[in-house]
């Protein structure tokens, strides 16, 4: 069995305590559900000396008329089944329900899913395997085997909930050694698979704040994967839009699992005020195809995944049009 070795564990009962424990222990990392972090520790990708456990900090979902506030330690199965989220943010519930397997959803948290490490076929492997390969740019090496170069890491953003949260314009509440702050999730990600999160060392994500969509809201999350469970996305498509009698009043399309950061589609404002007819749908799908450049860092043929981005877009738009009309 792959064993872990060489770290101690401390259990935090509150956010301030977690921060204090992290500050008190050198080379500490936070662990919540552990479903992303512990495989990386087992693979020798992370070598913490202390793990600060967050599982004692209660999550939960709260809402008022403007926004839904989700505690970062809320488990994904609860996000998927919570009546408030299902009623007000259906694509988020849908995305959470499509993460990995039932066990991982019962353990993994929304905060962990937002901060999920990027993934790559050459990175998420054992120490032995990576040594046989000659390591990679993201861990212990100097060469990216995906692009064949020494500069850019293209490990893929692989969270299912992130594209939806971007499309919903969520805001993250963070606390850290430098104090508390709010960060729009759109500003969280960088196009750098090695260092894809714009947060400081020791910073903690405490809440995810999602503005409540207005009337006429329609949305969905579509996931491409080989198996209908367990697998990470090979492509994720979040669609959030507002329809008023068939007319498009707002639209956000965000792709996941293509690049180190989620990919919001640009130029959609041109379609506002248009009727969501077949021609508009084809034009939007075409726009998505043009802007999508999936990398071979994860499973699934990249040119095919690019074609699927267009197919998924078309199908998602047809579905929301039907839902909006109903």
């Amino acid at each position: 069995m792959l064993r872990m070795d060489g770290f101690s564990y401390v259990h935090a009962a509150s956010w301030p305590e977690a921060l204090a424990l992290w500050s008190a222990h050198p080379e500490a990392m936070y662990v919540s559900g552990g479903t992303d972090l512990l495989p990386n520790v087992k693979h020798g990708l992370f070598k913490p000396r202390t793990l600060v456990g967050l599982s004692g900090i209660r999550g939960g979902v709260d809402a008022d008329s403007d926004r839904v506030v989700i505690g970062a330690t809320t488990c994904l199965d609860e996000v998927a089944s919570n009546p408030i989220i299902r009623a007000m943010l259906p694509p988020l519930a849908q995305a959470a329900a499509l993460v990995a397997s039932p066990q991982i959803r019962a353990m993994g948290t929304l905060g962990g899913n937002v901060l999920l490490d990027t993934r790559c076929l050459y990175y998420n492997q054992t120490e032995f395997w990576r040594r046989s390969l000659g390591y990679c740019l993201k861990a212990d090496g100097t060469w990216c085997h995906v692009v064949g170069g020494p500069k850019t890491c293209v490990a893929a953003q692989s969270s299912d909930t992130v594209p939806v949260l971007l499309a919903l314009n969520a805001v993250l509440r963070l606390i850290g050694p430098g104090g508390a702050r709010e960060l729009p999730i759109r500003d969280l990600f960088r196009f750098n698979g090695m260092d894809h999160l714009a947060i400081a060392k020791g910073e903690l994500l405490t809440d995810i704040v999602v503005p409540t969509p207005g009337p006429g809201f329609v949305g969905s999350y579509t996931k491409l994967r080989t198996r209908e469970s367990i697998d990470f996305p090979q492509l994720g498509l979040a669609l959030c839009a507002t329809l008023e009698g068939g007319t498009l009043r707002s639209i956000e399309l965000v792709l996941g699992a293509v690049n180190p950061q989620p990919k919001p589609i640009r130029g959609l404002e041109a379609f506002l005020g248009c009727s969501l007819d077949d021609a508009a749908i084809d034009a939007i799908a075409d726009l998505v195809f043009k802007q999508t450049r999936p990398q071979e860092s994860i499973a699934g043929d990249a040119p095919w995944r690019r074609q699927m981005a267009a197919v998924f877009t078309r199908r998602a738009l047809v579905a929301v049009r039907a839902a909006g009309a109903a």
Partner: protein, 930 residues
């Protein structure tokens, strides 16, 4: 950093000191001894380690013990003093437990589901179990078990609960397996569950080079580490071995040269696994890299580097072709000349791994008198016994191999592996028992899985559909060593000649050494690949001739009593009944070729051996032996060397002995797979166990039954002919009031014998097969027959193929227990479906595995696995026990070509390369290539 934690496990508060880096899984298994929770993948990809934490299914391998709060429920905490939980019994009764290794986790996921949804829908069941991978069952019987549990299941059910076949008492009845309730309870002991006093933990240092000379292996730093008991290298175990004694080209650890990434170089034993890991990290290896052979085509290219310079006799290899078979039967040229339609093309079959959920594990221990015992998750205890003696330089009298329960095998555990030799050598040197458990990654390096095959096929037929000639040229990617390669090479040609026969045949197959983990016998050894090419080609020929594909197959069947073109005698065949059954069930005539675009039906057939006529090493001894021991207690103990790997051979032995003696199957104990206690059986491979052990058990059982009958007759002073046995009693035909129980018959028999009661039975090899070089390979006393129809849905925009359902009709001779036969059919179809749709055991140009774990190497979950509809056809075989023949491998073959043929029906494309990934399907649809 060990420290004390308080846990609440199964309703009890426990305090235990474990390292802070330990998971809940390690703590449950190795600190608390709750070994019912299993470990399969190391890191959250398989679900075997599922426990409930506060009622929620949780992966204990990704939960830190020190972070665990609340109520933990393991499989041991599910039952109550009244007996098994209804869910556990439902799994047992439904045949949901084959190897049983995934089941504790599966049962806990099912418990959690039923707690929140007492009457779950099919979709809810599939979803709730979708994080628990099962490799044996195709999930079908598991779904049935959950429904039975929801409907309410008795806590206590007799072993035989169904109605037997006509004229029998036990044979043909649905029943529980001998060992399945223990598996459902979590009490069955698998190799990694063994904990011996002072036991050390071993690890094997593996090569990071695909092909290199070993310049030096410096173990001094490892030996100096505190807590390290022993270190060995290839020099300590230099004797070459091979499962096939003619081709010993492998050593326990590399000697002089490494030939694949992952090959063992040195091994250590230490006080714990963490120390062993540090020790192997401290070993310094100096390599001189050599150019590597990346696949079979590269291996036969002119100037290719040689994977092996010399063979086992010191003769230089001139190429990497380690075995070639080239056989001709009839006039192939004339056959093609007569043909009205010929299809000629190339097919490629990708490699795949068995991916049994239990990783290989072995424990070695020496007695004070220098005798070795090895417990190993093996399916060939007898051959392991011989090879251990050979490599360790011991007398066979001084070696004992015990096979604990095996958590799935499928051919993965059918030859000796480095860990078995290493636990033996390390425990000798350390003076204490040593255990080695592979990581999932090591399982992929040990491999011995499906050979990739590049296959040129030519098939010709006349207008009436009669196949006049078949020709093939097959290049087989063997990996670094021989394994069963000699057999594989012949099987790739020899096993194709039925149930659809042909008039002339030429095959040439070459197996090539490459610098990759060694391929070997995966379920359907050697014959699944050419079956794909052939059955697709037959479909194409049918298309060209405008014949119905089922009808075309009917025209060509080899009937019972006939010989195939290569001389295999087919004593029984139910292939026509199989074709009829799937044609009817799928409504073929109304629907094939007539469904809307994107929907299709496809058919394919196969046959498979029921054991090999000849043992792996030539000898005149029985291939299988059974001893029975009985006494006045009324219980019979069956001793047999057979390796139950989850297929249910222990139960099969009990049913047969029960049938022959009148003793209830509940009153029969089976002791199997222990080379010191049980008579030799050659092992669980080549689908031989039911046929051969079954005959041995029948013979031993009949002898015991005869003694019992004679003793009753003597006690009553009547002629034996007046007695009959039935429903567990011996009775007087002429006085129905006079009867004794089987138990009392045993009392009388023991008294009459004046000795303990003991009988023996054996299976002796019958001479069959063709009278030519290679003619014994593929020769079997009996052949099964199978036909599948499957229905697919192809999304023409995405290329995603969804296999909706499979009707699989299999002729198993006689179903001794139909439930187990169905389980074998369903599991086979599942495994073939997986190969067709998603599995690919692939490597980069440097010979590095593309993803040796169960997240990158995907095996299907409960959600996408098709509806599997198993249909049993019984064509009683004259040589088999009660007419039985194999069921465990034949039904895998047809599903792959059946899916390809269904895709052709759905969208008009012919796919010639597996797996049928959506990008390939979409590209083929767009190319409009037919």
């Amino acid at each position: 950093m060990k420290s004390l934690i308080q846990l609440r496990v199964n309703g009890e508060d426990v305090a235990v000191a474990v390292p802070q880096a330990w998971t809940l899984l390690e703590t449950l298994r190795y600190a608390l001894g709750l070994t019912g929770t299993k470990q399969g993948c190391d890191k959250g990809d398989c679900g075997a380690c599922t426990v409930l934490v506060n009622g929620k299914p949780t992966l204990s391998c990704l939960t830190l013990a020190h972070a665990t709060r609340g109520e933990v429920t393991t499989i041991e905490g599910v039952a109550t003093p009244e007996g098994p939980d209804p869910v556990q019994r439902a799994f047992d009764v439904s045949g949901a437990l084959q190897c049983g290794f995934c089941q504790p986790g599966m049962i806990l996921s099912a418990k959690a589901l039923l707690a929140r949804a007492p009457e779950p829908t099919d979709a809810e069941i599939r979803e709730a179990l979708s994080g628990n991978l099962c490799r044996c069952t195709g999930y079908t019987k598991i779904f049935e078990a959950v429904k039975l549990a929801a409907a309410g299941c008795e806590r206590h059910v007799p072993m035989k609960y169904g109605a037997p076949a006509e004229g029998f008492e036990v044979i043909g009845a649905r029943g529980r397996k001998a060992d399945s309730i223990g598996k459902a309870m979590g009490t069955t002991i698998y190799a990694d569950d063994i904990q011996l006093p002072r036991m050390a933990h071993g690890k094997i240092l593996r090569s990071t080079e695909a092909h290199a000379r070993l310049l030096s292996v410096d173990t001094s730093a490892a030996e100096a580490l505190p807590g390290v008991f022993a270190v060995i290298t290839g020099a300590d175990l230099p004797t070459a071995y091979c499962i096939i004694p003619w081709t010993p080209d492998e050593t326990a650890l590399a000697v002089g040269k490494v030939r694949y990434i992952g090959e063992g170089i040195a091994a250590v034993a230490a006080v714990d696994e963490e120390t062993a890991n540090r020790a192997i990290a401290a070993i310094r290896v100096e390599y001189a890299r050599l150019p590597n052979v990346s696949d079979a085509a590269a291996g036969v290219a002119p100037g290719a580097p040689l994977v092996h310079e010399v063979d086992w006799k010191g003769r230089p290899w001139e190429s990497n072709v380690c075995k070639e078979a080239d056989l001709r039967f009839g006039d192939v040229e004339a056959g093609f000349a007569r043909a009205d339609a010929i299809v000629e093309d190339r097919w490629f079959y990708e490699g795949s791994n068995h991916a049994a959920i239990e990783p290989h594990c072995a424990v070695g221990q020496w007695s004070a008198d220098g005798r070795l015992t090895v417990w190993s998750a093996t399916q060939v205890g007898h051959y392991l016994h011989r090879e251990l003696a050979k490599v360790l330089g011991l007398r066979t009298e001084d070696v004992r191999v015990i096979q604990p329960a095996v958590g799935g095998a499928f051919g993965a555990k059918s030859e000796p592996f480095d860990l078995e030799f290493c636990v033996a050598a390390l425990s000798r040197r350390a003076g204490r028992p040593v255990k080695i458990l592979y990581t999932r990654e090591e399982v992929f390096y040990a491999h011995r899985g499906r050979h990739p095959m590049d296959m040129a096929f030519k098939v010709g037929a006349t207008k009436d559909g009669r196949i006049t000639a078949v020709e093939s040229d097959i290049l087989i990617d063997g990996g670094a060593y021989h394994s069963f390669g000699l057999v594989t090479t012949y099987y790739s040609g020899q096993l194709l000649t039925g149930p659809v026969g042909f008039e002339s045949y030429h095959f040439r197959s070459r197996r090539v050494y490459t610098n990759k983990p060694c391929c070997g016998p995966k379920r359907g050894h050697g014959s699944v690949q050419p079956r794909f090419a052939f059955e697709c080609a037959v479909d194409e020929v049918a298309d060209k001739l405008a014949l119905d594909p089922i009808e075309m197959r009917r025209v060509n069947v080899v009937s019972a009593g006939e010989r195939t073109v290569n001389g295999l005698l087919i004593p029984s065949s139910g292939i026509v009944a199989c074709l009829d059954a799937v044609e009817r069930a799928s409504d073929w005539k109304k629907r094939r070729g007539k469904l809307p675009y994107g929907r299709g039906l496809g058919v394919a057939t196969s046959m498979y051996i029921s054991g090999t006529a000849y043992p792996i090493y030539p000898n005149e001894m029985p291939q299988s032996g059974v001893l029975l021991r009985a006494d006045r207690s009324g219980r019979i103990t069956v001793f047999c060397g057979a390796n139950d790997i989850g297929q249910g051979s222990d139960g099969m032995l009990a049913y047969i002995v029960a049938e022959e003696t009148g003793v209830s199957p509940d009153d029969i104990t089976v002791v199997s797979g222990d080379t010191e206690l049980t008579p030799v059986d050659l092992g669980s491979y080549s689908s031989r166990v039911t046929f051969m052990c079954g005959i041995a058990a029948q013979e031993a059982g009949r002898a015991m039954g005869a003694q019992m009958l004679a003793a009753v007759a003597k006690a009553w002073g009547v002629d034996e002919a007046r007695l009959r046995r039935g429903f567990g009693v011996y009775m007087d035909r002429e006085d129905s009031g006079r009867q004794v129980s089987a138990r009392d018959a045993l009392v009388l028999a023991e008294a009459a014998a004046g000795t303990p009661l003991s009988t023996a039975g054996g299976y002796r090899t019958r001479k069959v097969g063709g009278d030519y070089r290679g003619g014994t390979i593929g020769a079997s006393p009996a052949y099964s027959a199978t036909a599948h129809v499957c229905e697919v849905d192809v999304d023409p925009e995405t290329g995603i193929v969804r296999v909706e359902r499979v009707w699989a009709a299999h002729d198993c001779g006689r179903a001794l227990n139909p439930q187990l036969v169905e389980g074998q059919i369903e599991g086979s179809v599942y495994m073939g479906y997986a190969e067709a749709i998603m599995e690919a055991h692939t490597f980069n140009a440097q010979g590095l595995h593309s993803g040796p774990n169960l997240l990158d190497y995907r095996i299907p979950t409960s959600k996408e696995t098709p509806d599997l509809i198993a249909q049993i056809v019984e064509s009683l075989d004259p040589g088999g026990p009660y007419g039985a023949k194999e069921a465990g491998e034949g039904p895998l073959h047809p599903i792959v070509p059946a899916i390809a043929n269904a895709i052709a029906d759905a969208v008009g494309i012919r796919l010639r390369r597996i797996p049928f990934t959506p990008d390939r399907v979409l590209a083929a649809i767009r190319a409009g290539r037919a």
